[in-house]
């Protein structure tokens, strides 16, 4: 091709630039979570497809919005595969569609959370500033040195 034609071609080129590279780099940098979000969207649509065939609820985006108690717009965003889902939303999706997205099999030992009740103490008659809280054989901590706890209620043991 001669220069005349190339010049004619370049004269047709707008000064605007494609948004492709910026998006491509963003997707590359965020690939890890985008892959997960994408996979969740694909899974949701697969279940909706099966539900549509079997007439089960939820079988479309509108019904899924009802099941998740969110707007159809949010479901639409979700199915675009670029949404940062929180654990609560993932749990709702699992429940609504009867699928497992996150497994808790990584927990190998049982963790027991024990909350001990605070003992009831009577207010001191004296004004000795013993600024600490006594819990049932658990915590003995003097907060007098802690500025953050300066407003703690004062009890005497």
């Amino acid at each position: 091709m001669n220069n005349d034609k190339i010049n004619k071609f370049k004269a047709l080129v707008s000064d605007k630039k494609s948004g492709w590279l910026e998006k491509a780099k963003w997707r590359q940098e965020n690939q890890d979570w985008l892959d997960i979000s994408f996979a969740i969207a694909v899974k949701i649509m697969a279940v909706l497809r099966v539900n549509k065939k079997t007439e089960a609820f939820p079988k479309n985006q509108k019904e899924l919005a009802q099941a998740l108690d969110c707007s159809p717009q949010y479901v639409n965003k979700l199915l675009k595969g670029a949404e940062k889902l929180n654990i609560e939303t993932i749990s709702k999706i699992q429940k609504a569609l009867k699928i497992k997205i996150i497994s808790n099999s990584f927990i190998t030992t049982k963790i027991e959370v024990v909350v001990k009740q605070e003992k009831t103490f009577s207010k001191p008659k004296t004004t000795v500033p013993k600024n600490y809280v006594k819990l049932d054989d658990v915590i003995h901590h003097n907060f007098r040195t802690s500025r953050k706890r300066a407003n703690s209620q004062v009890y005497s043991a």
Binding site: K5, S14, K17, S18, W20, A24, A39, M45, L79
Partner: protein, 178 residues
């Protein structure tokens, strides 16, 4: 229609009236959109031998591969665009063997018109399901499916436009394979 710069000096893309995105940006957005892909494969399920879920996953992997390759290209000097483009005659019927030879089991296509040895304009792109069931049972032509036929029509319009502007005098277009 407009021609705009992409990310390397020698690669351009068409932007059609009414579209907010140029063709390069548009196709990659579609390939990253599970909803678009789900609809696409529900409509074209007859052309795949795997499940829709697997097909979507395949497109996603190919798009990532293609994207990374283009980003590498954007950072490379000198221009290596020629490595990406392969000639394909407009009216060519692609046999399964030829299809496999040119793009083994890959579905994603970008279409471009070659202005000269170094300059290309992307006219569009699509998912071309010429492997799998259709490749074994039939010959695949772009005219055979609405989505590929639409791309063919875009290529023809762009070529006519460039001819009218006195830029183009040959009939070839390029199909980008990886």
């Amino acid at each position: 229609m407009k021609i705009i710069n992409t990310f390397v000096p020698c690669l351009y893309a068409f932007k059609y009236p009414g579209n907010s995105k140029d063709e390069l940006e548009r196709v990659f957005d579609e390939w990253a959109d599970p909803m678009f892909l789900n609809d696409f494969f529900e409509k074209n399920q007859q052309d795949i031998t795997i499940s829709i879920q697997e097909a979507i996953s395949k497109v996603n992997s190919e798009a990532i591969f293609l994207r990374d390759k283009l980003i590498d290209l954007a950072n490379a000097t000198p221009n290596q665009l020629n490595q990406l483009f392969k000639n394909l005659d407009n009216n060519e019927i692609i046999s399964p063997a030829l299809s496999r030879q040119k793009a083994p089991n890959r579905w994603l296509r970008l279409y471009a018109i070659k202005i000269d040895e170094n300059n290309y304009v992307i006219t569009g792109g699509t998912i071309k399901l010429d492997s799998g069931a259709i490749a074994f049972n039939n010959l695949y032509r772009m005219q055979d499916r609405p989505h590929t036929n639409k791309e063919l029509s875009k290529i023809n319009k762009c070529r006519d436009y460039l001819r009218d502007e006195g830029v183009l005098d040959n009939d070839s277009f390029q199909e980008i394979f990886f």
